[in-house]
Assembly symmetry: C2
Homo-oligomer: 450 residues x 2
């Protein structure tokens, strides 16, 4: 038979079992946390009508999207989970209860130029809350509070959710008479972290056409620093001059107060006036999330408030707030930086049952008994030497081997060998299950190191 | 803004939240059961190099596959999970421990003609065990034993896993001097259930060119019925005439004995000589699974033993055994037949917290306390009338509303309203969490009705 060399396309993550199990554990933290807040899981198709996905159209999306014909159909793969959500909500509007709270953890597809660490298929883990006509400001604190729980669930403490409000920014620019330029100004200011104040000043004066005085006003404003109370106090100094600014400030105060009520410590969230988010559909609160000891990674979780989710598909005002974690990229950079905790057990089983006699029936019954005790158990049925069986257990990183020879069978016992310490005890099956459960490594080990 | 009518492509399942939650519960039974047997989760890409997916080529696959160009790349969407597994095992051969046990629950894509109940994207839930060179017969009993656990996990008892062995069939046809026709004969005989014995006899004589006597021999053989012991006894009557038949019979005996050891009751598995499975890569034990009260659905879970998983990609003998559930189709037919248990709770939350005062902080704290008690809780923050809040809870099917007014806040209590009975009790938050947990409906309710 002619052999075709196997390969996985570049830009597509395919993990070995040990890594995949770590990835699954991160996904499980996301699912459990989202579910604890009453979000419902959705699973929209990966393939949609291309005209629907491209309703908004424009720029990078058109270039990157995987689009193809099948028969007469003009098809495309989703490039995010927000457009399919908009379609879903518009299509099923009459069947949904609003506020509609959904999470979706699914792959999206973007045919980007191949680069190390850039993926063409990657998981997004999104939560959104969609209102019908209105949506209370309380939701704008709940979303980052949930993200706080997710990152704590990963075992992290050194992270910060940075919060701003687009109304505060737009209102401030209006005060300066620069309301029409606010989009360009936000994009320039967004670069502060990357290029520094001096270069931003150049962008503001040369590219955006501000006077030197206006540029200084802008830089002074986005330079506001301090505790959240200090930032809010400084913003009060601008109050009363623009209604949109005042509304944004009041929202920012509400979000700050409510985040504290959700139990998010001040060290894990910060008001940050430099954050604007590139996407122009955000209209209120916006978020970014930084790993404090790894700022070079950039934001690992971003989102915000928008006023009109599904205007392309339905003539209804559907405001919402949402946030997205690029899970594949996050996993990749954590792995690359050596931050995935090696102490986290990543074997697919808790115990490997090794039959030492010819008849498999007693070993089958033992394995079933251990499973009924809540363990993940593999029965090793291959005809191999004992040494090879133990080598298999070692290669998988199995914490316990359970040996069943004639003596054990005669006495209704089994021998439990701790593969880490080499220690061996002989016990009845249900006590063996309990013993293994008690001694399994790493129940509380954090997924990620700091 | 111009409105584009939202739609989901035909042949692509997109569920409303209540149905999606039921689907997730079925998927969870699969994941938990597969994990309990030490299978490792895999997640191979949906997009692969088209030449790799089509290495085997031929027939329906070529027609149905979604294949497209992006830049210079010839890409395709996977049409099953077996070919990607073969690629994975060949590519990562040196990094895997054999026997390699993996499960994958992922969507596959087939551009079939649109028909009611036919899907173009559907979940397959596959388990496979791959050996390096050899694989013990024990695995051929373990696979259906796991499927037995899955269907019991769904709440079913009225199902039957039907088991046969291709070596028994091929060996039998060799005895009749029909070895070279065994493929055609198996395909004809496979239709027995659908078209009856008389028409199969016609196929055998007219299409396959058998003599009347040969056709009668075949029909007598596949007509063997009875308990598993009776079927094995009848097969003994053919023993000693063909070495392949004898090997198959010995395998069938081992599988039968081991299935009993795994605790699978005789009523849930049956030796059935009519089963051959269409695919020509099966070489030993083969399986189908029927819902006994719904035979018109056909097999809901099929698979078998093969000798060479990855011959297109690697020059190694990699025998395996696997089985696949077409989860999307199974879910669709169960739903269509009204077999999804309506008593199964399908709300995305256990309790909806309704603040009755202006300051949200006490309600936020209460919701967090209930979550820390293990409940899925939504805080309802919208400014609506009380009646509308309760209507929202009803629409979602929430079992408990938790009311927090000034009196409750003053006393450190909350009022728990059972939305089913209307009954209301006032308790401190942690006791409320315990009360709700104790009274949640349907913990042990089967997912599927019989």
């Amino acid at each position: 038979m002619e052999i075709i060399k196997p390969r996985t396309l570049s830009g597509f993550m395919e993990l070995l079992p040990e890594k995949q199990l770590r990835f699954e554990k991160m996904a499980q933290v996301l699912r459990d946390t989202y579910a604890a807040y009453g979000f419902t899981p959705l699973d929209t198709p990966a393939i949609e009508d291309a005209r629907i996905l491209l309703a908004k159209g424009g720029g990078e999306t058109e270039k990157q999207i995987y689009r193809f014909q099948k028969g007469d159909s003009d098809l495309a793969l989703r490039f995010d989970l927000t457009v399919p959500l908009a379609k879903y909500v518009a299509l099923h509007y009459n069947d949904l209860a609003f506020p509609f709270r959904r999470f979706q953890i699914s792959k999206v597809y973007r045919g980007e130029r191949a680069q190390r660490g850039r993926f063409r298929a990657f998981y997004q883990a999104d939560i959104d809350i969609i209102g019908d006509g209105k949506l209370d400001i309380l939701n704008e604190a709940e979303i980052p509070a949930i993200i706080y729980k997710v990152f704590r669930g990963f075992g992290l403490t050194r992270f910060q959710i940075r919060v701003n409000n687009r109304k505060v920014l737009t209102g401030f620019y209006s005060m300066l008479g620069l309301g029409e330029k606010s989009g360009d100004l936000m994009r320039a200011v967004d670069k502060l972290d990357k290029i520094g104040a001096e270069k931003v000043r150049l962008l503001l004066t040369e590219d955006c056409g501000l006077t030197g005085a206006q540029a200084d006003d802008v830089l002074r404003f986005i330079g506001i620093r301090g505790t959240n109370a200090q930032v809010l106090a400084a913003l009060e100094g601008y109050a009363g001059r623009d209604p949109l600014f005042d509304q944004g400030l009041s929202e920012l105060k509400a979000v700050t107060a409510n985040l504290a009520a959700f139990g998010v410590p001040e060290e894990n969230f910060a008001l940050d006036l430099t954050i604007a988010r590139g996407l122009d559909y955000y209209t209120g609160t916006v978020y970014e999330t930084m790993l404090l000891d790894h700022p070079q990674i950039g934001s690992v979780c971003s989102g915000g408030r928008y006023d009109n989710l599904a205007g392309y598909y339905i003539d209804k005002a559907l405001p919402g707030v949402g946030i997205s974690i690029g899970l594949t990229r996050l996993f990749y950079v954590l792995d690359e930086q050596g931050l995935l905790n090696p102490a986290l057990p990543a074997a697919p089983l808790d115990a490997l049952v090794l039959p030492m006699t010819g008849d498999p029936a007693p070993a089958i019954a033992l394995a079933e008994a251990l499973r009924s005790g809540g363990l993940r158990v593999q029965l090793y049925g291959e005809q191999k030497k004992f040494k090879q069986k133990l080598a298999y257990a070692d290669k998988l990183g199995v914490p316990f081997a359970v040996l069943l020879g004639e003596d054990e069978i005669a006495q209704g016992l089994c021998s439990v060998k701790n593969m880490g310490t080499g220690q061996q005890v002989t016990l009845p099956p249900m006590e063996a299950a309990e013993y293994i459960r008690q001694n399994l490594p790493g129940g509380d080990v954090p997924l990620i190191l700091e």
